[in-house]
Amino acid sequence: MHRFANPARFMRLSARLLPWLAGATALLLAVGLYLALIASPPDYQQGQAVRIMYVHVPSAWLSMAVYGAMALASIAYLVWKHPLAGLFTKAVAPVGAGFTALCLVTGSLWGEPMWGTWWVWDARLTSVLILFFLYLGYIALVGAFDDAERGLRVGAVLVLVGTVNLPIIKFSVDWWNTLHQPASVGRLDGPTMDTAMLIPLLVMALAFTLLFAVLALVRTRAELTWRKVEVLRLFQAAGE
């Protein structure tokens, strides 16, 4: 892991990797969208609205996976002080927030025809909404310090606090939801899923994961470059 924590090496490796990753992402997204929007059959119950699921479910997965990645990076940053880990966490937080927002919006769009309302305090939607707030909190906190390093470190502590809390929040929201007997009946995941739907879903999930990888690399590179610009500026001010 230390090998990749070297910023110069990271810049070189990621520059070589990026074109391939970006190409693969574009290809998979195109195939996935074709399968999801055109080639796959409409659901016998949900009709055409089921196609929202091909975007909704992968973004829900990614919203959690990105937070997981941030948690791991935060441990690496606080314990081993890997300089890249902090920058990575900061770089991917808006991406994670984006996937979470996408998940919420598509959920809402799907809910309107299915449940007859834009928002239902369904246990899952509520948990995702709280996850969204955690992302926003992290982004706001990291940006609130004059000393960028300090923002990264405090942010890492927050990510870990959130990680401990997420299962508790999830559990409590489930508990609350059964207590209040929600009006919603429709569940996104039926017990069985037809392969005609499963394949486009998996392709889309893979495409989203690759998309995340591309965005993470680009944004981490941007953070690093920005850091370099600041250092150069300081050297200039020091008259060296």
Binding site: A148, L234, A238
Partner: protein, 210 residues
Amino acid sequence: MTILSAEKIACQRAGRLVFRDVSLRLDAGGAIVVVGRNGAGKSSLLRLLAGLLKPLMGSVRTEPSPDDQRRMFGYVGHHDAVKPTLTALENLVFWAGLADRREARARAELALEAFDISQLADLPGRILSAGQKRRLSLGRLLVAPARIWLLDEPSVALDREGVRRLEGEIGRHQASGGGVVVATHQDLTIAGAETLDLEAHRPGQRTAGG
């Protein structure tokens, strides 16, 4: 006997390299006066020595001594840590009691006397002048004994008589085997003080040894 040493430390604040290659050695009874223009990193150096900041490079070592029961660092910084709603005496009693509960009040009263502010004992911190607060802050060095005093511009806001008292206390501290590191612009009369000029350690300058 060396009680504090720093080896080639470099300091970074808010992404800026403040100084580098600073080495120092403080002996029991010794004193180091740190000088340098504003922004040279005098305050940062003291905070590094105290362990309140971590050096970017290099290391700070303290040599524990088994027969010295005092805690390691006494620190007087820019902030006086005087609580506005507590009286001058209560402020010191808190720190005295934190170090050692026995006779905390008596030690606090002695410290007030040492810096000639006994008459302010019952006044709340909020109405003390800057110089009076500084004297109170210096009094903390006496109620919670430490081996090494790290004083950041201790004479700021002090009148001539206050400076004299401070010099007297520093002398007594040295005599008891303690060491002092002072960052200052003003001339303080301290016996056997070495000077450490941070100008020589500015990044981009050829370093001229510690």
